[in-house]
Symmetry: C2
Subunit: 165 residues, 2 copies
């Protein structure tokens, strides 16, 4: 069981860290203190290394790049006003918890307004996108399997206008 | 891959739902709306079926009992004033995000005060307990592997007095 966990951890598909970097810290208990949407010991990174399909997003990996053993990773994403994530689909699921501001999630072709502590479950292979149409930052936790497939981008222009009503 | 996911999901170790009950709802995308620390479509349940080792806790399973496919479950636990979870250890990890009030986490023999959006990672086989020494509810998300071992209770009297300072 242990061996299998380690094997799965060593082959992540969409993190920035190399397997070597992810092993720098031991698999030990810790508390990451929250302060103004930053967590102690957690760095702020780009959403994705390749530009083009997204705009104005930062990521923080709270669990997943220090050699932790769970079968899932916990990240916090923050989208600045007018920003948006890639419109994409993948086999792995997303579990999202909104914690800062308001935003929109596009699931399939439909957009939904979401806000504080709403939980969004994105099932496998469902096209989805997160957008910020407000004037304040939109931040959310996103939990994914540690081992996961690469996203496939979906063509189409991003309509980042606020939903009516 | 799909087959393995389904097999893992069908053998949870510490949820209340039977495998049959967990398959009632399809693995489809959804939004659970938040309102006063309840989520739409999510029922409030007992923390554990067996009393004795814990006090005044409720659980809500946001992801994990509707036939969803991720390798992890998302639950929300709320501890009423003077309540506490079992002092226990297990092979599976806990990832906890505090979202309501303040509380304490005992990791090993040491207690730490925690509050809003602090993140706590409990590594495998680490004795731990959550306690509410305040006058308001203490609530937190807890993410765990979908397939996990049963906890082992640790003997000892629960000292639910507030930390000095």
């Amino acid at each position: 069981m242990k061996k299998e966990l380690k094997k799965q951890q060593a082959a992540p598909s969409c993190d920035w860290q190399t397997p070597a970097a992810r092993k720098r810290t031991a698999n030990s208990s810790r508390i990451c203190r929250f302060d103004d949407f930053r967590w102690s010991g957690v760095k702020k990174e780009r959403y994705k290394p390749e530009p083009g399909s997204w705009h104005s997003i930062a990521r923080q990996v709270l669990v997943g790049n220090r050699g932790e053993s769970p079968l899932f990773h916990l990240r916090y994403f923050e989208i600045a006003p007018q920003g948006f994530s890639s419109y994409e689909r993948h086999e792995h699921e997303h579990v999202v918890i909104c914690v800062r501001g308001r935003g929109e999630v596009k699931i399939g072709k439909r957009r939904h307004a979401v806000e504080g502590l709403d939980m969004i479950y994105i099932a496998p292979n469902t096209p989805h996108q997160f957008l910020n149409t407000e004037a304040e930052p939109f931040g959310f936790f996103c939990i994914v399997n540690a081992e996961r497939d690469r996203p496939t981008l979906i063509a189409g222009r991003t309509q980042n206008k606020k939903l009516p009503g």
